[in-house]
């Protein structure tokens, strides 16, 4: 039986989280700021992650354009307790991931790219 899109997205996010130790949560949101799929802790408000993730990426992309930095690769926000990483998935979606401070950033970036390649094929 063919899997639904929702199932496929959940499997990809689950695999990504398993492959990168210390990744705590992931979500795929539309550039409209609406959540498409997510694996978030209960205390995180899904609607807000969607709206803010899309806004941050959009502002960053605009800033990159204005300041002649070329196409944006990713946005990384570093806090005292961990990281927020945002990646474009094509023109219409965004991968949001939250990771603990202990995460290996090289591994995170590498697995993010793999994950995005998979998502590009189905979105």
């Amino acid at each position: 039986m063919a899997q639904t899109l929702s199932n496929q997205l959940d499997i990809i996010l689950n695999t990504f989280e398993r492959n990168v130790p210390y990744v705590q949560a992931t979500a795929i949101v539309s550039t409209d700021g609406l959540v498409i799929a997510s694996r978030l802790p209960d205390k995180v408000e899904e609607d807000r992650i969607g709206a803010m993730g899309a806004a941050i990426l959009s502002i960053s992309s605009r800033s990159g354009d204005e300041l002649d930095r070329g196409d944006m690769e990713r946005v990384l926000i570093e806090g005292k307790s961990g990281f927020l990483l945002l990646h474009s998935i094509g023109a219409d979606a965004i991968l949001v991931s939250l990771a603990d401070k202990e995460v290996r950033l090289g591994m995170l970036f590498y697995e993010c790219k793999k994950c995005i390649n998979q998502l590009n094929e189905i979105l």
């Binding site: 609406l34 803010m52 605009r62």
Partner: protein, 168 residues
Amino acid sequence: MPDIKQIVLERDLNPYHSFFASFFGGLAELGMLNQGSINIVSKRAADYLYAYLDAKEILPDMNAVPGDTSAEVIKNLILYVNKILSLVGEYDLKEAEQDQVVLLISGDTCRICPKGVGGAAVKGTLCPVPSLLEGLINKLAQKEMVKLITSGIEKEGSTCKAYYQVLN
């Protein structure tokens, strides 16, 4: 920039409509506003509008709102809200599937559209109306009466559609 003079006259805008739509439209063009954030802030605005109506002592008496069914009551609450805020020109609320209603707005009569009135040149929708009405109806009814099903607005030609679940 759209033909502002034509929009002002055809849609019968007041200065607040122009300000609201162009302000939101400008934020969206800077990448600071999207449908998801509009949904969140519109509900916040609903709380403030409710407090405004309360302060002005113009809240409707819920016992006197006409309607034999929840859908009819919702329709009359939207009528009341629109009379005060003058959000849209032509609209209708129809029963959809079981326990659902659909709000149909003639897009070219909407007075607060960040795109159609505010000129935001962005992809996707930016409609504050569905979540603003959801928030206001629930505040006026003092209970969870409706829940927005669609994430924002769905465009079908020049008609903007928002689906709500009628909860009770």
